[in-house]
């Protein structure tokens, strides 16, 4: 018992887990909410893209905002990115997002200035 109390203090400082991995209830609400939100975001993107009649640039910006929200749902609600080495994992994904944005937006920008 003493040991358990001691360990709990240790992990709180060491940031290992304990508090953030207790997601194993009978009904996995996190996954269900993430799933419903993902479906809603998908159909919302279709509506913005094909039926809402928005200006092209506004529509493109909106559907990509929705895509990034849905990607975040995968990371946080399905993939448990905050578990284990949570801070490092979230940091790794943020640096990956930075790399992706520089590669994609940078390439588009450079090639659009070519002509």
């Amino acid at each position: 018992m003493d040991f358990r109390v001691h360990k709990r203090l240790l992990t709180r400082d060491g940031g290992i887990m304990e508090h953030n991995t207790a997601n194993h209830s009978r009904i996995p609400w996190t996954q269900i909410i993430g799933f419903v939100l993902s479906i809603a975001l998908t159909f919302l993107a279709v509506w913005f893209g094909l039926y809402a009649g928005l200006a092209y640039n506004v529509m493109v910006a909106l559907v990509f905002v929705l895509a990034f929200i849905q990607a975040a749902i995968q990371l946080f609600m399905f993939m448990h990115v905050t578990e284990g080495e949570g801070r490092w994992q979230v940091g790794k994904m943020m640096s990956a997002a930075f790399i992706a944005l520089v590669i994609v937006l940078g390439s588009i920008w450079v090639l659009n200035n070519m002509h």
Partner: protein, 203 residues
């Protein structure tokens, strides 16, 4: 394998061994590299998007219903993969296996739809060598589809191992990491759906 006795029993199995913890963290680093891989392919696609000479336009050949079915199949499989991990954490092997089989079936459904779509596109005159747009389209969707195939194979192999060895920190880690990979396939698909299919249909 270090399965020490001083681990809190509430800690999920996959995090109970040191190697398990390190492998899971290492897999996130691998996923970071995968993001960079797909980013370069997306960059190629966006840059060559206007190279549609000599072939059908995407807005002429993409089908909304087909695209939504593919998207939902992969999204549902990602959800059921998450449910399998929930059962893993409840130490319910049977429930976990059932969700994994369902995940594989939806994954196979997605692949079937994708291959049928490729055949349809080729029939419509949009083949790999038609023009820059279609080459980059096949490079992007093909690389993603290859990942889906590998993910299915991986999940099947891990399931066989669980059948033989049962649940232990090692097999639990493999189940968890393969589920991360599977979720990541839907993560990438969100962007394929948005930038290739949705914006392609807008024209």
């Amino acid at each position: 394998m270090a399965h020490s006795t001083n681990v809190d029993p509430n800690t999920p199995l996959e995090y109970q061994s040191e190697i398990g913890k390190l492998n899971i963290f290492g897999f996130w680093v691998f996923l970071g590299a995968e993001v960079a891989l797909f980013a370069t392919i997306f960059a190629t696609f966006f840059v060559l998007e206007s190279g549609t000479v000599g072939g059908p336009l995407p807005s002429e050949v993409f089908d909304l219903k087909n695209t939504i079915i593919m998207t939902l199949l992969l999204l549902i499989s990602s959800f059921t993969s998450g449910l399998s991990i929930n059962e893993l954490r409840r130490r319910n092997v049977k429930g976990m296996m059932v969700w994994l089989v369902i995940t594989l079936l939806f994954g196979a459904g997605f692949l079937y739809m994708e291959i049928t779509e490729f055949l349809h596109l080729i029939h419509e005159g949009a083949a790999m060598g038609t023009n820059a747009y279609w080459s980059s389209f096949y490079l992007l969707t093909g690389t993603h589809g290859l990942h889906v195939s590998l993910g299915m194979l991986w999940i099947i192999l891990v399931m066989f191992q669980v059948k033989r060895q049962g649940l232990n920190p090692d097999t639990a880690k493999k189940l968890f990491v393969s589920s991360l990979y599977w979720h990541f396939l839907d993560f990438v698909w969100i962007f394929v759906f948005t930038s290739v299919y949705l914006l392609g249909m807008v024209g």
